[in-house]
Amino acid sequence: MMQRAVADSFRKLNPRWMVRNPVMFVVEVGSLLTTALWIQALLGPGEAPAGFIGTVSLWLWFTVLFANFSEALAEGRGKAQAEALRRTRKETQARKLRQPHRDAAFDMVLSSALHQGDVFLVEGGDTIPADGEVIQGIASVDESAVTGESAPVIRESGGDRSAVTGGTRLLSDWLIIRVTANPGEGFLDRMISLIEGAKRQKTPNEIALNILLAAFTIIFLVVCMTLLPYSIYAVEAAGQGTPVTITVLIALLVCLIPTTIGGLLSAIGIAGMDRMIQRNVIAMSGRAVEAAGDVDVLLLDKTGTITLGNRQAVEFVPVRSVDVRDLAEAAQLASLADETPEGRSIVVLAKEQFGLRGRTVGAGDDMHDGMHFVPFTAQTRISGVDLNGTSIRKGAPDTMTALIQNAGNVIPPELRTSVDAIARTGGTPLVVTRNGAALGVIHLKDIVKGGINERFAHLRKMGIKTVMITGDNPLTAAAIAAEAGVDDFLAQATPEAKLKLIREYQAGGRLVAMTGDGTNDAPALAQADVAVAMNTGTQPAREAANMIDLDSNPTKLIEIVEIGKQLLMTRGSLTTFSISNDVAKYFAIIPAAFVSVYPALGALNFMHLATPQSAILSAVIFNALVIIALIPLALRGVPYRAVGAAQLLRDNLLIYGFGGLIAPFIGIKVIDMILVALNLA
C-alpha cells in the first residue's frame, strides 16, 4: 500500500491534477521555477549558490510530494477494499426466466446482460448476478461479501427483507428475483466507486474552505511579489546589500501559504469517508458525511434503538382474592406454547420468582392429554391454554374485559387500577383469566438499553435533540421517553406523521437525521438530511437513504454524527495550525532575506538561526516535514468529545492555535541546529 502511495504521489504531479488544489498548485509552480533557477545557476552565474537553490528546490518538491502522498495514502485504504469487492463482482451466468414463476423456461445469460425489469432464478450455491427484489421464494443468503458479516440472512418476497444484492451468495433454497439495477449501476458498483473516491466531489464546507485558502494564497502571492520592489528600493536607499532573490521569495511564499491544510485537505475528506466504511457504513456522498456533523435532531426508532427489541415480563399483579403464586402458575401455563419473546419472558419470570417449572408440560406427550393451546390471532388478540376443562387466557385489557363480562363475571375494581398503573409507567398490561374470571395482570415492560441514557445526555451536550419514534400510545411512549432520557417523542407514528415531523423541523432550520428499513420509511428517509438505511432493509428504503449501514445497527447514527463532526473539526484545526505557523516563519525568513541590506533586522532573528541560508532552508524543511508529521492526524481525525461548542473551541484553539504558534519556533530551530551539525549551513 505504501509503495503504491509513493508511486501515486509522483503520478499526481501532473499539473492537470494539481490545479484542482490551488494551494499546492502554487507550490508546484514554485518548485518548477526554483528548479529552473537551479539549472541556470549550474550553467552560469545564478542568483545564489547552486547548492542553496537546489536544496530549496528539492524541499519544495518534497512539499508537493508529501501532500500528494497523504492523498494517495488515504485513497489507498479504500482502493484495497474496493479491489476485494471487485473480485466478488466477477461475471456470472444467470438463469433469465421468460415468465416469473419457478418452472418457467429460462435462458442462460451473462450477468452483465441483465437489465432492470428482467426476472431471473437463483438456486442454492449460486451467486446472485444482480441487485434485485425477491418476488417469489424464501432463502438464506450469505452477504459477507458486502457486509463482512458471516452469519447468513433470510431473504423473502414481500415485506422488509426482499432486497438482494448482486455478488452475494444463495446458501439454500431458491429465489425468483426482479432486477432493479442496470449493469454497472448496482449497489456493489456504486460502493466500489464511492470507496475508490473516483466520483468524489468536494463537499460544501470543503469548497468554502478552499476559497478561504485560495484567498490567503493570493494575499501571500502579492506580499511576496511586492517584496522584490521594496527590497530594490531598500538597497538603493541604504546603498548596501543585494535585493532579495527569487529563490528566497518563492521559499517565503511556500512557507506562508497554508500548505499544511492545503496539502492535507483532500486526505481529510477521503479519510472521513473511510472511517465510515470502517464502521461498515457506506455514505453515498461526502456531502452526507459532512451533513452528519451538522445534525440537530435525531429521529430514533424506539424498538431496537432505545429499547431492547422485546418487552419482558417483570411482575405479576393478582386481584385481591387470588394468590400471586396462583396467578404466576396460570400465566406460565398460558405461555408455555407461546414462542414470542414476551411469552418466553413470562415463563422465565414465573420460574425465577416462584420456582415453577411448568411441570405439567415439557414431558412431551403430556401435551396431548387434554392440553390444548389457543394461539394468538389478530382477530381474537387472545392466547391461552385449555387444560382438563380449565381454560386459561391472557390478552390485552380491552379484549379481556369483554371476555370476563361475556362469562358473566364482574371485573374487580383493583384490576382496573393495576392495569392503569402499569400503562402509566410505560408498561404493557396483560390480563390473565381462569374460566372467565380475572386472576390478575402481568406487567410487560420495555427494557431500555443500558447506557442509552448517558448517550442521550452526551447528544444533548453536543446540541442534538433526540426524538423517539414509536407506534405505542402516548402514555406508554411518554413513560419510556422519560426513562430513556430522550428530549421528545412521536407516539402512534405513521409514515405520514414521520414525514410531517421531519418537514416541521426542517422548516425551523434544523437538520434531521433518521434511520429506517421499511418501505414505508422511504418517504421520510428521502426527506431527512441524513438518512441511514439498514442493509437488511428494502430496496426503496436503501435508495431513499444517503447512507447504508451494513451492520443494520440503528444506534450507529450517533457514531455517524461524531464522524461528521470529526471531519469538520480536523479541517478547522489544521487550518488554524497552518496559519498560526506563519508567524514563526516570518521571524525566520524576514531577517534572513533583508539582513544584507539592513543589518539591524538581525535583531528579529531571536531564534539565532545560524546563517540566512540555514534559516530559509530550516523554514522550508519544517514546512514540508510538518505535512508528513500530520498525516496520521489527518487520517485519524481530531478526536471529538461530547462537550459544548465553547469548550471544544477553547481546547482546539489551545492545541492547534497556540500549539501552531509555538511548534514551528522549536521545529525550525532544531532543523537549523541539525543543518549546522551536518555542515550543510
Binding site: I219, V222, P229, Y233, A238, I464, M569, G572, A645
Partner: protein, 578 residues
Amino acid sequence: MTVNGILQIAIYLIVLLLLVKPLGGYMARVYQGERTALGRALGPIERLTYRLIGVNPEQEMGWKTYAVAVLVFSVFGMLFLYALQRLQGILPLNPEGLGDVSADSALNTAISFVSNTNWQGYGGETTMSYLTQMLGMTVQNFASAAAGMAILIAFIRGLVRHSTSTVGNFWVDLTRSVLYILLPLALVVAVMLVGLGVVQSFSPYQTATLVQPTVDATGNQVTEQTLAIGPAASQIAIKQLGTNGGGFFNTNSAHPFENPTPLTNFLEMLSILLIPAALCYTFGKMVNDTRQGWALLAAMLIMLVVFGVAAYAAEGAGNPRLTALGIDQAATNLLPGGNMEGKELRFGIPNSALWATITTAASNGSVNSMHDSFTPLGGLVPLVMMQFGEVVFGGVGSGLYGMLAFVIVAVFVAGLMVGRTPEYLGKKIESYEIKMAALLILIMPVTVLGLTALAVVTGPGKASVFNPGPHGFSEVLYGFTSMGNNNGSAFTGLGANTPFYNLFGALAMLIARFWLIVPTLALAGSLVRKKRVPTTAGTLPTHTPLFIGWLIVIVLIVGALNFLPALALGPIVEHLGL
C-alpha cells in the same frame, strides 16, 4: 507615561462608553422606523424629502438595486464636487479670489470626499473657496458618512431578516441617517465648538501685525501675517462625527482655529469614535441580542486601548538617541517630556498619541500632531491601525461591516473547529459568504501593497520621497495605506500633490470604498435569503470572551501576515536602527 496622561485617556474612554447605549439605542429606533422624539418634529421634512426626490419609502430593494442606488448617488456627488472645484473661480462666496483647482487634484479630492477618505493633497485655506468648502466638502462629509451607515444597516438587515430578498431602501436609510442622526449631532457639536472658540465666519481672511517681525526664506522683512478664517466649525463638527477627517485648514486639527483648546480636543476626539462605537450597540439592538454588539465593541476597544497605550508609551519614552546624549526626556510638572517634535504644546503627548490612534482606528484621518515626527514605534501604531483594514471602529458604518467580514472568517474557522457548518446569528456561513468575506479582506492589502510597490520603483513615485531610506518608505506605505483604507490621514513628509499620487491615490480610494461596498451588499443579499438556524448547545456562541479573543487574533494575524514584511522594511528597521 504619567498618571495624568493615563487618567486623561481613561476619562475619554469612560465618557465614550457612557454615550454608546443611549445613542446606539436611538439609532436602532431610527433605522427600524420606530417612534422617536425627533421623529415627531422632523417627520414632515422626511416625508417631504421623499416626495421631492420621488421615492416611495415603502419600496424595498434587493441588494443589487441597493448597490446601484449607492453607486449612482456617489457618482453624482463626485461629479458635483469635481465641477464645483473646477469652477470655483467664477462662483460666489470666494472672498480670497482663489482660482480653479487643477484637474488631477480636483479629481483626487472629489473621490477622496465621496469615498469618506478625505485625503487632502491640497491645503484648505489656500485652495478652496468658502462655497467649495461648504457646498462641496461639508455636504459630502454628511453624504459619504450617511451612505456608509446605510450600507451597514442593509447588512444588518441581511442578518436579521430571513427567507426574503430585500435589504431595505437606500434612500430611506440615507435620509434617516442624515436627518435624524448626523444633522442633529453635528448641530450640537458645531455650536459647542463655536462656543469653545472655533472659527465660524464668512469674513475674508484677517491681517495681523506681527509683534515680533521676522524674515522669510528670501531674506525679506515680514511684519504682517494673514489669518485664514472661514465657516470652519460647521464643517469640523461633521468631519469628526462622520469619520471624514478632511480639515478646513491645511494643518487640520492641529490648527488653533480648528482645535483651540484641550476641551475642543476632547470634544472632537469624542466625536470621532462616537458613532462607530454606538453603531455596535445599534447592531446588537437590531439583531435582538445586545451581547453581540457589546462583543464587537469589546474587541475593537481592546485593540484600541492596547495600541493607544503602545503609542503613548513610545512617544512618552522619547527619542533613544537623545537619551544616549544625556538629554533628560522625563515628564515633570513643568516639562511634557518624551518626543514633543511635531506635537502641539496645548495637547501634549497623551492627547496627541491618543488622537493619532483613534483617528486611524476610526477611518477619520484628521490629525492634531504630525505623525511623521513620531518615534518609529509611535508612528507604527497609526499605520497598523489602518492596516487592520479600518475595522477597529473604522468609518461610520464601514468599520462595522468591515469587522463583520472578519467575524465571518472567524466564525467559519472556529465553527469548523467545533465540528459544525459555521453559522453566525443563525445564518449558515457557506462558500458564497466566504467568497465575499475573502474578497473584502483581500482587496485592501493587494491595493496597498501593489501601489506602494509601484511608487517605490517608478520615477514619479520616488520623486516625491524627501526622506530616502526606511522613513521614506514608511511615508509612501502610509500614504497608500491611508488612501487604500479610506482613512485620509497623512504621515506628511511626502509630496503627495503630484499627478502620480493624485491619480493612483484616487484609484486606491475608489477601490477601497466601492469595490468593498459591492461584496458587502452581495453578502447581505445572500444572508437575507437564508433560513435562520435555531441555537443549540452545539452552536458556537459569538459573544463570549473566548470568541472576542479569537476575533482579535484573526484581525491581528491577518493584518500582521499582510504587512509584516513591509513594516519590517519601514518603521521596524527604523526603530531597530535607533
